[in-house]
Every structure is written in structure tokens, then in C-alpha cells.
């Protein structure tokens, strides 16, 4: 599903964010990416959504060759990957419902279909009662759920979650993990960057350890890959 082959990313400042990283993630896996701040986790995510291009190496997601992907195809790629950003990137002047609807509007989805889909997602992530609130009115955990809901809008095959439990208390963190596990159980591949050792140790999923841009450990866990299901089955 996701193939990183000898990927190096060097920024114009000379800083090497990733250094000769190689790994493969199969469909339906739930993989943790761990490492200290500045180790290259966010760069890895940026490379996966073609927000950055590697200095060398190759990246493939399914049939997509990300290095040679023409600019006018980037938006197509991004429809297949849901992202929960570290800073959430929810629009402050839109309600939760409008935020979740936003990618579907952008993606030019038929408005009735989009409304149905948002209704389903909003129920699934458990924030139906907050649909008409603005981001500033929600707690950290609720905002995370809203961000996850938006990532689910296109029913993507992959979800990238960048530190989704970063600012949450322990109980709320586990709620978010549970939600991601549910999504994974429906066949969606999940790649989650985290600092939370407690979660990583408890779940014992496959874990990629990145330190100073190098992949220092690829620890296969006990987690079984989820069967890929169709969207309807997943919901």
C-alpha cells in the first residue's frame, strides 16, 4: 500500500529531515510512527500527501508514484488520504458540520450525497450534538473527533494522524485511539505519529521509530491487519 524506498528529504536550509528511509505498510495496518520532536515524523506525513517532495528515493501509495506525480493530480491523491493534522487545521469561522463538509465541497461532490455522508460520519465519530458549534466552543477531544471526521469525508483508504492525542488527557486520548481502531477495523490503513509511550506499549501495534531522520527500528507488533471493506460495510 505505502512504499518508502531510500527516501531522503533535505530542506533548502541544509537540514536533513529524513535520511535514507525505507519501509512498506500494507493495506489495513495500524502503524505508529514514534520519535522525538523534530525527528522527521511530520515531514514523513508531508511527503505522503505530496506537500513536499523527497530529495531522493521513491514513494508509492498504491499505484500512485508520488515523486513523479504531476501537479494537477495532487488533489486526486489527497482525496485518497485523510489527514488529521497536528494543529487540526479546522476553519474557525465555520461550524463543525461545515468543517466536515468542506473537503466534499472542495471535491465537488453532489450536495445531497455530501450531506448524507457528513450525517453518517458525524454520528460515527460521536459529535452529532456539536454539529452547529464553532471550533472555539469545543473541547480538545471533541476537536480531535471533528478533525478525524473531516479526514473521513472521502472514505479514504489511508488516514494519517499526526499526534492526535498530543494535547489530550489520558482518558480522552484513549477515546480517540478507540475511534481510530474502529476506523481501522473497517479496513482503513492508519498511520499515526505519537509521543504517547503508554498507548504504543499498550496496543503493541507495528511501530516505526524515527530518530534524527533515520528509521532506527521497525518493530512488528501483535496487531492483525484489518480486512479491507467497502465503504458501506465500513459504515
Amino acid at each position: 500500500m505505502i512504499q518508502f524506498q531510500n527516501v531522503t528529504k533535505q530542506y533548502p536550509t541544509g537540514n536533513t529531515a529524513l535520511d535514507d528511509v525505507t519501509f512498506t505498510i500494507d493495506r489495513g495496518e495500524f502503524v505508529f510512527v514514534v520519535g522525538p520532536s523534530g525527528s522527521g515524523k511530520t515531514t514523513l506525513f508531508r511527503l505522503l500527501i505530496r506537500d513536499a517532495v523527497p530529495s531522493s528515493g521513491s514513494i508509492h501509495i498504491g499505484d500512485w508514484d508520488l515523486v513523479n506525480l504531476p501537479k494537477n493530480k495532487i488533489h486526486e491523491l489527497r482525496k485518497n488520504i485523510g489527514v488529521v493534522f497536528q494543529d487540526l487545521k479546522l476553519l474557525r469561522d465555520r461550524t463543525i458540520y461545515e468543517n466536515i463538509m468542506f473537503p466534499l465541497e472542495v471535491g465537488d461532490i453532489d450536495s445531497q450525497e455530501a450531506r448524507d455522508r457528513v450525517e453518517q460520519i458525524i454520528e460515527r465519530v460521536g459529535i452529532a450534538e456539536h454539529r452547529d458549534k464553532f471550533p472555539v466552543q469545543l473541547s480538545g477531544g471533541e476537536l480531535q473527533r471533528a478533525a478525524i471526521a473531516r479526514a473521513l469525508a472521502f472514505s479514504p483508504e489511508i488516514i494519517l494522524a499526526d499526534e492526535p492525542t498530543g494535547n489530550l488527557d489520558n482518558a480522552t486520548s484513549w477515546e480517540i485511539i478507540k475511534l481510530l481502531q474502529d476506523i481501522n477495523a473497517s479496513g482503513t490503513t492508519i498511520v499515526m505519529a505519537t509521543h504517547n509511550a503508554d498507548i504504543v506499549n499498550s496496543l503493541r501495534n507495528r511501530t516505526l521509530v524515527i530518530e534524527k531522520g533515520k528509521l532506527t527500528k521497525d518493530q512488528h507488533g501483535k496487531h492483525k491487519k484489518a480486512e479491507h471493506k467497502t465503504q458501506d460495510e465500513g459504515n
Binding site: 488533489h75 487545521k89 476553519l91 472542495v106
Partner: protein, 288 residues
């Protein structure tokens, strides 16, 4: 539809900036319309004079009827004359009285004695005006010869000067309106920078982001043009009776509605191009 909705939202949320953009476009197109009227109007006046080759000779007081008849006969023999009309001192006074009937002071001051008798001669071709006026000037009884070549060349000089001033004014106003529209739209783009960044990360194409801003530019241009055109056209129609009496005899009025519509259509095309240009330049920085 979504782009139109977004555009209207942009305008609603910052109405004064939108008003500034529309106002400058309105001024630009008001100037363009007024100059279009002047250029087309003066061309019509010049054409009128060019199509009527005429020369007028004013006689000295000592000229007798016999002298004048001899001169008419001499001119008829050239074969260049299509018609000629003698205006005596008394007839000149009548014409003068008719032109100034509302101003008794002017009427009291003038008598038939101080007005010269004249001969209005039409030639079949405009080129014949030169030789005919030469014959008239050689006559010892003629004090002054006026022919339309002078009027036409004076008018052409004025029209050209007006055209140059008009073109400069329009170029300056167009430049200013592009800059103001760029600033207004650029400001809105920068206000929405975060949203644009998120849109891109959430699979929006550049055109999806660009369209509402482009439409905004087009809308400013179109609304400004229509308002400017209405003011200029309304002004021309309002002043038509005065202009008609001032330009009496020259068949310009009534102006055809097709002329007004053609100007509006031409201006709308120009306005849309300006709107697209200004908004494209404004968005370019953020959507490379």
C-alpha cells in the same frame, strides 16, 4: 454555483472595499464612455462638413450688384459649381436677427450697413473648393473667403487633441483601477491565506480557489461599467436638446440606441478582461 456563493460572501463581508473597487471602475468607464461620445460625435461633425463642400465669400461695401453678378457668371463658367446663393446685407440682418432674437441689446447695436453681403457657393467636389476660393480671393470686391477646409482642419485638430487627452486619461484610470482592484482582492486573499492553505491540503484544485476571486474581479468590473455607462448615457440624453440646438443642421441626433448598446457591450468585454487580469495578478502570489 459554489464559486458564485463564495464570491457574494466575500463581497458581503467587506462591503467598503468592494465599494471602492466598484467606484474606481465606475470612474474609469464613465471617462471611457464620455470620450467615446466625444470622439464619435466629433467624427460625425467632421464627416458632415466634409460631405458638404461649401465656400462663402464676403463682399466689400463698395461691391455693386453688377460686380457680384459678374463674379457669379465667372464661377459658373468653371463648371465646378453645383449651386450658389446670394445673401444681401438685408438678408444677413434678417438671419442675424433670427439667431439673436432673445437678445434685444445685440439687435439694437447692429444694422444692415455693418453686415457684409455674401455668396454661398457649393461645389460638386471637395477638391474644387481650393480653385474656387482662389478665384474669389483674386476678386477686388471680395473682402474675406471662408471655406470648410478651415473648419474641418480646426475641428480635426481639436478632435485629435481631445483623443490624446482621452487616451492618456483612460490609460491612467485603467492603470489605477487595476492597482486598486489588485489591492482589494489581494487583501481578501491574504485574509483567507489560512483557509486557502487548508483548501489545498484538502484536495482543492487551484482553480477551485481562484474562481471566486476571479468572479469578484469580473463583478466589480461589470457593475462599475454599467453604472458608469448609465451616468454617461443619461447625461448625454439629458443634454441632447441643448446639443441639438448648438449643432443645428448636423444630423447627429437622435443617437441610435444600437450605438449606446454597442458601447456598453464593448466596455463590458473590456471590464471583464480588466477584472480577470487584476484578480489573476492578486491571486498569483498565493497559488503558484
Amino acid at each position: 454555483m459554489k464559486a458564485t456563493k463564495t464570491t457574494l460572501q466575500h463581497i458581503r463581508r467587506s462591503p467598503y472595499q468592494s465599494l471602492a473597487a466598484v467606484s474606481i471602475m465606475m470612474l474609469t468607464f464613465l471617462a471611457i464612455t464620455v470620450f467615446a461620445f466625444i470622439v464619435f460625435g466629433s467624427s460625425a461633425v467632421i464627416n458632415f462638413f466634409e460631405s458638404k463642400p461649401q465656400v462663402t465669400a464676403f463682399f466689400k461695401n463698395e461691391a455693386t450688384q453688377q460686380n457680384i453678378d459678374d463674379l457669379r457668371h465667372q464661377l459658373d463658367q468653371t463648371g465646378m459649381i453645383s449651386s450658389s446663393k446670394f445673401v444681401s446685407k438685408e438678408q444677413a440682418l434678417e438671419i442675424y436677427k433670427a439667431q439673436n432674437k432673445n437678445d434685444p441689446l445685440l439687435l439694437d447695436l447692429v444694422t444692415a450697413d455693418i453686415l457684409p453681403a455674401s455668396l454661398e457657393i457649393s461645389t460638386t467636389q471637395i477638391e474644387d473648393l481650393g480653385p474656387v476660393s482662389e478665384i474669389l480671393q483674386k476678386s477686388p470686391y471680395v473682402s474675406e473667403v471662408v471655406y470648410q477646409k478651415d473648419i474641418v482642419s480646426t475641428l480635426t485638430k481639436w478632435t485629435n487633441a481631445l483623443r490624446i487627452i482621452g487616451v492618456i486619461l483612460i490609460v491612467v484610470l485603467t492603470g489605477v483601477s487595476i492597482f486598486i482592484m489588485m489591492t482589494v482582492i489581494g487583501f481578501k486573499v491574504s485574509q483567507k491565506r489560512e483557509e486557502i492553505e487548508i483548501m489545498k491540503l484538502l484536495s482543492a484544485t487551484n482553480w477551485y480557489i481562484r474562481w471566486p476571486f476571479m468572479l469578484e474581479g469580473i463583478l466589480y468590473g461589470a457593475v462599475g461599467t454599467v453604472v458608469g455607462w448609465i451616468i454617461a448615457t443619461g447625461g448625454l440624453l439629458y443634454f441632447s436638446p441643448y446639443l441639438q440646438s448648438f449643432l443645428s443642421g448636423i444630423p447627429i441626433f437622435p443617437v441610435s440606441p444600437i450605438f449606446f448598446i454597442a458601447i456598453l457591450v464593448g466596455e463590458l468585454v473590456l471590464a471583464i478582461l480588466l477584472g480577470v487580469l487584476a484578480s489573476s495578478l492578486a491571486v498569483l502570489r498565493y497559488l503558484k
